[in-house]
């Protein structure tokens, strides 16, 4: 309780200084937030594209139902496969009519249905790689009643490369930003603690326990971090709204779990930085 009262008192006694450190924490986390927003949307976009990675296994017209069922079971048993759907000739035609209305007349005038029956294989998220697609298609084409298996090889390769570049960039830039943020937070709190070194000195001198001395600073650091986190949240959201109105395509706002994580990270960073910064002063007397 003393720790909370003291931390609040510190905010009251030096509002400019604590305000400044919160603002610095806020700005540092704002940069992280913006990056997170960009990374999150890139991730969403890539996932949406990847959602369409599937293998179409075209079957001969004379394939027997028992053979098809067998292949269906076989393909569904591959670990990377999420689902296998059978598309009959009629289904294929129906779909072609609705999806390609410009050919509507052409399809309706047909005496014979030229579209093949097929199996549509969808892959699990995380398994939409060139290797997995290759594996599925190899398993399918091994059967004589399979005409062909298509998946747009170049396209999958490129997507996969893009995804890897994206992940690497996110990891490198993300940790660089986080490190800069941590340094800024540490410095800001160091200044705040430096301003109170006389107090720490006196506390040590008159026999306050180290844990007792440390506690209000930890609370203060956590509060500054949390406040900074809230500020960063506000700034990032403001920027999001601002940018959103200029764009002619949808971008998503961060999921609550990311925001929660950001706030917790701000508070934790604050407390840890304080603990590190205060160690030096606890050794002075």
């Amino acid at each position: 309780m003393y720790a909370f009262r003291e931390a609040l008192a510190a905010f009251r006694r030096a509002p400019v200084l604590t305000g400044l450190s919160s603002a610095m924490v806020g700005l540092a986390l704002y940069v992280v937030g913006l990056f997170g927003l960009a990374a999150y949307n890139l991730e969403l976009a890539l996932s949406a594209v990847e959602e369409r990675v599937q293998v179409a296994v075209y079957l001969r017209d004379d394939a027997r139902q028992s053979e098809i069922d067998l292949l269906l079971t076989e393909l569904a048993a591959i670990p990377e496969v999420r689902s296998v759907t059978f598309v009959s000739k009629r289904d294929a035609l129906e779909r072609a009519r609705t999806e390609l209305p410009e050919f509507g007349e052409l399809f309706s005038d047909l005496d014979v249905n030229p579209l093949p029956q097929s199996l549509e294989v969808e892959l699990r998220p995380g398994s939409r790689t060139p290797a997995a697609v290759e594996k599925v298609s190899a398993a399918a084409t091994a059967h004589p009643f399979v005409e062909d298996a298509r998946y747009g090889r170049d396209w999958v390769d490129r997507l996969f490369t893009l995804r890897r570049i994206g992940a690497a960039t996110a990891a490198v830039l993300g940790s660089a930003f986080a490190m800069v943020a941590a340094l800024i937070i540490g410095t800001a709190l160091r200044i705040a603690i430096f301003a109170r070194r006389e107090e720490i000195y006196v506390m040590r001198l008159v026999g306050a326990k180290n844990s007792f001395i440390r506690r209000p600073f930890l609370v203060e650091g956590a509060m500054a971090g949390l406040l900074g986190g809230l500020l960063a949240w506000g700034l990032t959201y403001g920027t999001y709204r601002g940018v959103y109105s200029f764009l002619d395509f949808e971008i998503a706002w961060l999921p609550p779990s990311w925001i929660g994580l950001g706030l917790v990270a701000g508070g934790t960073f604050g407390a840890i930085s304080s603990a590190l910064a205060i160690r030096r002063h606890l050794r002075e007397v």
């Binding site: 006389e198 006196v202 001198l205």
Partner: protein
């Protein structure tokens, strides 16, 4: 009591600040620690409240040995020792009363007892009328009195004072010295470091230690 046994203190760059110093200050004694600047007075004072540890030898403060007391536990020693500086080291932006109350608060005095206890301590040093004054509104002598009240807050068995009158004029010095003697008369030991021999001569009842270049060259108790 404070007991130094063959204490040496060496600093990495400055060399020896103290060499083979031994003395035993007993309960209730009043002693001056004299010597030129750089003779090791401040080092001795810092050793006496374990702000420093000896390079060799042992310092014992009220039963706590410098060899066994860890940094974590040093607070136990500090609560048995009051400390007064030449430059007072009061917290600015706080009143006289708040400065004294601060000590009581951070050493775990129950909340209800803090203000009455702080008021009593200020009364003891004759500063009750100035309890609400901020530090910068007080004279040097008054500030030192607040510092003394603060040092007494934990009811220590000894008061360590490092050049406490160094920044004070003659009248304020006499006031502070009278206060030390009052405190000593109630049974608390006082060890006061000063380079002012004139001042030491005014109090022939006190024990006198003299340091010279880190060595203890004179102890009035051993003369007799």
């Amino acid at each position: 009591m404070i007991k130094l046994t063959q204490v040496s203190k060496e600093y990495p760059r400055r060399g020896y600040a103290l060499r083979d110093v031994s003395f035993h200050l007993k309960k209730g004694e009043f002693a001056f620690l004299t010597g030129h600047s750089g003779s090791g007075k401040t080092t001795t004072m810092r050793l006496a409240h374990m702000a420093e540890r000896p390079t060799s030898g042992e310092v014992r403060v009220s039963g706590y040995s410098s060899e066994k007391t860890t940094e974590r536990n040093v607070w136990r020693v500090r609560r048995r020792v009051g400390y007064v500086f030449q430059d007072f080291r009061l917290l600015p932006n706080r009143t006289a009363l708040e400065n004294v109350a601060f000590v009581l608060e951070v050493t775990g005095t129950p909340k209800k007892k803090i203000v009455p206890a702080a008021q009593r301590l200020l009364a003891q040093v004759g500063l009750s009328p100035k309890a609400g004054a901020y530090v910068h509104e007080l004279s040097g002598g008054e500030q030192q009195r607040v510092a003394i009240a603060r040092a007494l807050a934990n009811e220590p068995f000894i008061l360590l004072a490092d050049e406490p009158t160094g920044n004070l004029d003659d009248r304020a010095t006499r006031g502070v010295m009278d206060l030390f003697w009052d405190i000593n008369a109630k049974g608390m030991a006082v060890l006061m470091a000063t380079h002012d021999l004139e001042l030491v001569r005014r109090y022939p009842l006190a024990r006198v230690f003299e340091l010279d270049q880190g060595r203890l060259v004179y102890d009035s108790a051993e003369e007799q």
